[in-house]
Assembly symmetry: C2
Homo-oligomer: 436 residues x 2
């Protein structure tokens, strides 16, 4: 059969990986797809690099718009990233009737609704398996594998940089700052790590998964996002003593009143499989009504793992590009005219359990005052540690694990505890999920 022609925008890490894997596994991929998939044009601002990677076998240009308008090309692979020119290129490719495969989670999280609508109108596909959790086929699992289910919630370790940092903090008892420096040295964290450590990257991926899990449009600005930069080594240690690990989770849960959508450091029981996902690995735990809990684990970033997902999409488009568009898998899992308008819940309405750590003066009555405040708000205590004060110190730490309550109730309680004269400074609050 006639080969499928691909135009590649961006020959950086993932672009290079896509090129490499597509060449190395050409025979195997053709045996699966039923026809060759070949890159016929590459665009990159760095022409020299592009020539070097493409190795003279493929046309190279520094004009990405030439690729999206090239009549020879069936599928455009967008690996430029960001919300800027990438958006224009993707929309232009769609306008020109080309299918698109992208790893750009930021673009989809922010402009996904517009892009999918344009693709729907032109009858082309936009593949984005590579946008979430790298090489783990989680989009396919959620969109097709679990199609029988009402998905109830999902929780994912979907940022490798932060999981690496948290694993190192726990293993070595080091501070966040010390581990971040090490991660930057090893190439696990960017020079400007904000995007990762503040949870923004995880939030982009979470929005995409929530849309697919629940059949709702992308909701850009409604997620609660809290990163790991303020986490202290002491809390990781106390959590461990209580049988928990701290992970940066993206969590989305369907409730009666709406959908929870949140990224924050989370205590989870150490014995859960997902608590044992270490280093830069990713994992997504999905709870659905028929199948129960399923978990998907693998590398969430890197040249070849991400290329694996890009090429899976290329094979899929190769198979389905001649199919009647209405028989293809819908971009957001549910038919576009059947998306739901269920709202995203404000964080105050979210229900979760809490780890609370407070520094207190070591004198009688303090604990009684604190537990009274919790009882007045009808928040039950699940576990507690009161440390012996260090020799000669008049201060100590109290750690409390609460049962599940509304975030608004937790906010009230924390305010009241901080107002106690015997409580010094702020209460450290980390959310806790049993994930059962």
């Amino acid at each position: 059969m006639k080969p499928i022609n691909v135009g590649l925008l961006g020959i950086g890490t993932v672009g290079g990986g896509t090129f490499t894997v597509l060449s190395r596994n050409e025979a195997e991929i053709t045996r699966r797809a039923g026809r060759p998939i070949r890159i016929v044009q590459v665009a990159d601002k760095n022409l020299e690099l592009a020539k070097q990677v493409a190795g003279g076998k493929v046309a190279v240009t520094d004009d990405a718009f030439a690729v999206v308008s090239n009549p020879e090309i069936d599928i455009v692979v967008e690996l430029i990233g960001g919300y800027g020119v990438a958006k224009d290129l993707v929309l232009k490719a769609i306008e020109n009737g080309k299918h698109v495969v992208t790893a750009n989670k930021a673009l989809l999280a922010v402009h996904g609704n517009e892009i999918f609508a344009a693709a729907q109108q032109k009858g082309v596909m936009v593949g984005f398996e590579a946008a979430v959790a790298g090489g783990i086929p989680i989009i396919k699992a959620l969109r097709e594998g679990l199609a029988a289910n009402r998905i109830q919630w999902l929780a994912g370790i979907i940022n490798g940089t932060t999981n690496f940092i948290l694993s190192e903090m726990r293993d070595k008892g080091l501070s966040f700052d010390a581990v971040l420096k090490e991660a930057q040295r090893l190439g696990y964290a960017e020079a400007d790590p904000t995007f990762d450590i503040e949870g923004i990257d995880a939030a982009h991926k979470l929005r995409i998964m929530a849309a697919i899990a629940f059949g709702i449009p992308m909701q850009f600005d409604k997620a609660y996002v809290e990163g790991i930069s303020k986490l202290e080594a002491a809390d990781i240690k106390y959590a461990e003593q209580l049988g928990y690990r701290i992970k940066l989770l993206g969590i989305t849960r369907r409730k009666e009143a709406g959908v929870e959508l949140r990224v924050h450091p989370t205590l989870i029981p150490a014995k859960r499989l997902i608590a044992n996902v270490e280093g830069a690995m990713n994992a997504v735990l999905v709870q659905a009504d028929a199948v129960g809990a399923t978990l998907y684990y693998g590398k969430g970033a890197g040249a070849e793992p991400t290329a694996s997902a890009v090429i899976a999409d290329l094979v899929e488009v190769t198979r389905l590009h001649t199919a009647d568009p209405q028989n293809r898998v819908p971009h957001l899992a549910f038919q576009p005219d059947r998306l739901s308008d269920v709202p995203v819940l404000p964080m105050a309405e979210v229900e979760t359990a809490y780890y609370l750590r407070m520094r207190v003066q070591d004198k009688p009555g303090v604990l009684a005052d604190i537990t009274r405040i919790l009882a007045d708000s009808q928040i039950s205590i699940d576990a507690m540690i009161q440390k012996e004060p260090a020799e000669g110190e008049g201060e100590t730490d109290i750690i409390i694990l609460t049962h599940v309550c509304k975030e608004s109730a937790a906010n009230t309680v924390i305010g009241k505890i901080e107002a106690l004269a015997a409580v010094l400074g702020k209460v450290t609050r980390i959310r806790l999920e049993e994930l059962q």
Copy 2:
């Protein structure tokens, strides 16, 4: 759009689950599939049960052949099981131009090649996600999600009964027989458990996965199959002391000379994620060249988890039944004319590491004799335990972990060790995989 009409053969556990989930999630599934999927006829030898489950809303018959010949029906779901009438029904349904969805691993492992060829010829699909690892979408992951990759090996906990038994033996320090009785009482094991405990069920599932992973036809009789019924509690304890857990794994690996295909109890490092898959849960670890290691975890059996996979296939067929057959995903992942004839390696050619336990007389020179035998066959020792003999006993246990060697070399060595006068009885041999 016009509904898709389904005929259901067998209304037992999985049939009932399929009925329940399809009704309960009707709205959600229709929003995904783009059209209603409805069961219009049910066949079961137990007419009363069928009427009870189908609740008067659906035509019921005790003649399964009436269903596969019903011109109203688009898809036949075969949940009868076994190699007998199920085969005739599936082939008849295909002959009548109907798509088939089945959970019958035994049927596919034995007659898959014939069934897929018939389906190919008639241009219909045979979905079998439910045949392997229940609700985990592992077929989809292997066949589509990892389509970019050259899969190197996979190792799966793909039988819940045996994993439950092994978990209980380890947790409670009980013997195989005691735990089997408990498992039977709890409904985790059948009255005749042979199929599960001797590894036959796992071997069926492994054959299906190997075919898809490597693009080879089903190979029924060439797997090495060893169950867990001879495992002793002592070996689980010694393994634990050495940092390992024992799991019944289905392993298939691509080597230069052929494909390894084997089911046996296996020591795996306790820190691996898959070593921590407990109770009746299933998990499959896949090593592929681009993506690296990915793991898929969930319930491998039960009414609704299996129904989840059956219905995922129904949605898939609903989408693709009008597509040009040559653009659908091939049954065995690779195009049928592009399957490979790579042989399955005989067990003697398999390479793995070993746990060897032997009972010896406690006298000088025994250990020297044993290590000499290993050295002569150039098998390196990775770790060793020699127990202090119990008070007043002149016997003790020696446990040796070897490095990787050929099974034939291990056989030779074991024969020589057993021939030593100071070695009492047989050597216990359990294979060991680092899974890295």
